[in-house]
């Protein structure tokens, strides 16, 4: 029986499909249902239509969280791409100890995020901050910088940590892309008189674009849905200045037990995520068909 490809394929895919249906598809449907009821923890609740959504859109903290999420994603993505690409180009040259450098550089990405973020929280401590000490010694500041406690500054501090964690991922992924580019192309361009910048812009960049796109889109999704950094560094504070969709959904849905409202806040991420995924699928198909 297993000689028939259809039957074999069915059995091979069955466990995967079962798990994904049970813990992705079903929760998604369930989440949509939750968001149109008035459930709280332990109480199923009744259908209330779009009430939760109209409520959150009137909520100024939600609007701040939404705006924060978009700014957070946009700003960190630009920095991660720029720095990651720069680092990838540096790593693509041959030098002594290259494999060591490459291995160590990836540490921020592989060490559990929450744990390394704790180290950042300690470095950002208002009283004991090593950065304050450094800037003070360099005569840049006289009074302390309150990295995470100042509502104006807290978001930037969180962004710094996100960029720190993301740069190695960009760099190593882009490096893998760079290594597939045939060096002969560069040589040919150099012989034709192209300078360093021209060679990058007309040879490297176009060939690297497919990898770059996939890395960027993947990273946008992760950053947009980020939770851990904000949860550990500020918990959404000070004065709700650093909430993202996910942290605010957690605070409302789990913290205060308003399941329906929390589910609605989470689902508010969905349209933007869907757009990125659709774009990514379209882009991959286009590259494959070329």
């Amino acid at each position: 029986m297993l000689e028939r490809e259809g039957a074999l394929a069915f059995w091979l895919l069955a466990p995967t499909l079962a798990l994904l249906t049970l813990f992705i598809a079903y929760p998604f449907v369930r989440g949509v249902w939750l968001s149109v009821t008035n459930s709280v923890v332990g109480v199923p609740g009744d259908f209330v239509g779009m009430k939760n959504f109209t409520k959150i859109f009137d909520d100024s903290i939600f609007r701040t969280a939404a705006l924060n999420t978009f700014i957070y994603t946009a700003v960190t993505t630009v920095f991660k791409l720029a720095l990651g690409l720069w680092l990838a180009l540096l790593l693509n040259r041959s030098f002594r100890g290259k494999s060591w450098v490459r291995a160590f550089i990836l540490l921020p990405f592989i060490i559990p995020t929450v744990l390394s973020t704790l180290a950042w929280k300690w470095m950002f401590d208002p009283t004991f901050s090593v950065f304050n000490w450094l800037f003070w010694k360099l005569s840049i500041i006289n009074s302390r910088i309150n990295w995470l406690g100042d509502p104006e500054l807290a978001m930037s501090s969180v962004m710094i940590v996100n960029v720190w964690r993301g740069v190695p991922f960009y760099a190593i992924s882009l490096l893998a892309g760079l290594q597939t580019i045939n060096p002969d192309l560069h040589e040919a361009a150099a012989i034709d008189g192209a300078n360093r910048f021209q060679r990058f812009w007309h040879v490297t960049w176009p060939l690297l674009l497919p990898v770059t796109m996939v890395v960027v889109l993947f990273s946008i999704i992760q950053t947009f849905a980020d939770f851990q950094l904000v949860y550990v560094l500020t918990g959404g504070g000070p004065a709700n200045a650093t909430h993202l969709f996910a942290t605010y959904a957690y605070q409302i849905g789990i913290g205060t037990g308003l399941l329906s409202e929390g589910a609605a806040i989470s689902l508010a991420m969905f349209p933007a995520l869907l757009l990125v995924v659709v774009f990514q699928l379209w882009y991959i198909r286009r590259v494959e068909n070329r």
Binding site: F10, P15, L19, F109, V114, L115, L118, F128, V130, V211
Partner: protein, 283 residues
């Protein structure tokens, strides 16, 4: 590379490279120094004349002892290890066979299912954690390791499947066809011929899945509640911080030691890890 003047190389290569390395690794050094720094020295304000950031004159193991003997840290390590291993094994099993089916077999819906699995790979945990918490409660697996062992595969399987598909596609079809001409059944060819060749891919997927499980935070935070059930990331954050009081010594010791298993696995299999990571984004 075209050689320029020596100072140019310093300016455009060594200097930026050095800054990158310093910036990326400094937090880990800081973790290490804090772990062995006595409390009296640690709690000196930034503008204290004796603030000595980069070394400590009286290293101590007090924080590590405190962490190991007076908290549930050991328990959290075992919990995390168990959950990460089982979730990884389940995901590898599912991902390898599903990847084979999608890469090699011709059947209706193959393209559709492949895309479907890829899309679930992109679903972030934060989108579904609230309804999932509800479901976990309903199945009565809340506050047990099974809450995580069964949900972690949702983000591990799609990745394993995707990575394995790439590997299987690269193995020439002729190998399988030879085995089948010699009388092997389809599944025999798969298990005895193709899977052994795919071992490097399986290893990459496994290592990456293990580190992802070790790293996972929000599901563990939401689905587990009693201190002795927690995983390392959640335990360190929720049990070592009491209200507004941060015990930075044990906290940094926990962060450091909690990272060790991942760092060990990583150090042994850097190449596989990088292959897994870059494979996962290249598709």
């Amino acid at each position: 590379m075209i050689e320029g003047a020596r100072w140019k190389k310093w300016l455009w290569f060594y200097l930026p490279m050095g800054l990158f390395i310093l910036g990326l690794l400094f937090p880990f050094y800081w973790m290490l120094v804090t772990t062995v720094r006595p409390d009296g020295e640690m709690y000196r304000p930034w503008n204290h004349p004796l603030y000595s950031p980069f070394w400590t004159t009286h290293p101590t193991f007090d924080h590590i002892k405190n962490l190991l003997y007076e908290t549930l840290f050991n328990r959290w390590m075992w919990n995390t290890m168990f959950i990460a291993m089982v979730a990884t094994l389940i995901s590898l099993f599912c991902g390898v066979i599903a990847g084979y089916a999608l890469a090699r077999l011709r059947f209706k819906w193959a393209g559709f299912l492949g895309t479907g699995i890829f899309v679930t790979y992109l679903v972030p945990q934060t989108l579904l954690f609230i309804p999932l918490a509800d479901i976990i409660r309903e199945y009565h697996i809340g506050d047990t390791p099974w809450a995580l062992i069964l949900t972690y595969p949702t983000f591990l399987i799609p990745f394993c499947t995707w990575l394995m598909m790439g590997y299987f596609k690269a193995i020439p079809k002729e190998l399988e066809e030879c085995a089948r001409i010699d009388g092997a059944a389809r599944w025999q060819a798969m298990v005895y011929i193709i899977f052994p060749i795919a071992v490097p891919g399986i290893l990459s997927a496994g290592i990456f899945a293990f580190t992802l499980s070790w790293n996972e935070f929000i599901y563990a935070l939401v689905f587990l509640s009693s201190p002795e059930q927690k995983t390392v990331p959640v335990g360190v954050v929720s049990e070592l911080i009491r209200g507004d009081v941060f015990f930075w010594g044990p906290l940094m010791a926990g962060a450091l030691i909690g990272s060790v298993p991942v760092a060990i696995v990583y150090s042994f299999f850097v190449e596989h890890y990088v292959a897994g990571m870059t494979g996962s984004v290249k598709g």
